[in-house]
């Protein structure tokens, strides 16, 4: 059986068909949740924010004029909600950072897998929100620069600038552990 298209599912959702909406949720909940989690640095409110984005869709599915824009629309709404939430609670992102180990405690090549993951997470968490969103969309959601720019409603030049600054900040943040992280990575691959 051929899977229903997003367009048909949106039309059915507009007629208050919960089964159709559940199918849309199953298709897009994970990327939306993942992006919000990244934006909020693993904050406990991630699920609330992701849920709110889908509730906005359910309230008026007809507002999506082109079905192919649905994922981008969800990402945009969810990221805006996440940023609003973070600005209302400016210290909300500290929770996730405090949970991980102090990166100064271990350096060089003795990084284990968990520590390496924590340090990369911390470096991403320290990025300014716009750079973090650009990095999340391109590196973690696999979007092209053009698609990510459309999600963020900015020009391609602007997103390339955000990515350049984001990469520079990440390299600086990870500089101390750079060699150790790469060795840990290559040992994992090997």
């Amino acid at each position: 059986m051929q899977a229903a298209s997003d367009a048909n599912l949106l039309l059915a959702s507009a007629r208050r068909d919960t089964a159709a909406f559940a199918e849309l949720v199953s298709r897009y909940y994970k990327p939306v949740y993942r992006m919000v989690w990244r934006m909020m640095n693993g904050n406990a409110e991630t699920e609330d924010v992701a849920q709110e984005a889908f509730v906005k869709l359910w309230q008026n599915p007809a507002q999506i004029r082109e079905a192919k824009a649905l994922k981008g629309w969800l990402m945009r709404v969810a990221s805006n909600l996440a940023i609003d939430r973070l600005r209302r609670k400016p210290h909300a992102d500290i929770d996730a950072i405090e949970d991980v180990a102090d990166p100064r405690q271990r350096t060089g090549a003795d990084l284990d897998e968990k520590t390496a993951t924590d340090r990369v997470d911390q470096a991403i968490a320290r990025l300014p929100e716009r750079q973090k969103l650009a990095v999340s969309l391109v590196y973690f959601e696999g979007m092209s620069n053009i698609t990510a720019a459309a999600v963020m409603e900015i020009s391609v030049d602007a997103i390339e600038s955000l990515l350049t600054r984001g990469r520079r900040a990440l390299k600086e943040s990870l500089a101390q552990d750079w060699r150790g992280l790469l060795e840990e990575l290559s040992s994992k691959v090997g």
Binding site: R16, A50, R167
Partner: protein, 117 residues
């Protein structure tokens, strides 16, 4: 050379980013979402038309009308003085009649009485 180093660094960074946490969806999150939407009322997709209050048009129209009237008055200089009531321009009318300038009023009266051809 510098570009090559930069590209290698970018590639290494892309690999390192793969080490970042891939968050797991909390168990039952989608079910909770579906339960939440049951309580949500749909929003109407048709936006109700609300005309602008009329006073806004007057607010724009009044200064424009006043400006137009003032412009006509200033542009006409003394032309309209003769048409203004005596209570305002009595002295001026008296002066002009004495100086023999024709205001057109006498001729209009005569014309109305059929004395002019």
């Amino acid at each position: 050379m510098e570009n090559s180093d930069s590209n290698q660094m970018d590639e290494a960074l892309a690999k390192l980013l793969k080490r970042a946490t891939d968050p797991a969806i909390p168990e039952g999150a989608e079910a909770r979402l579906m339960a939440a939407i049951q309580a949500v009322e749909p929003q109407p997709s048709i936006v109700k038309f609300q005309p602008r209050p009329r006073f806004q048009r007057w607010a724009v129209g009044l200064p424009l009308a006043a400006s137009l009237a003032l412009g006509i008055y200033l542009g006409s200089k003394d032309t309209f003085d003769t048409y203004l009531p005596d209570s305002i321009m009595g002295g001026t009318l008296a002066d002009t009649s004495e100086s023999g300038l024709s205001t057109g009023l006498d001729e209009a009266e005569s014309y109305a009485e059929g004395e002019l051809t």
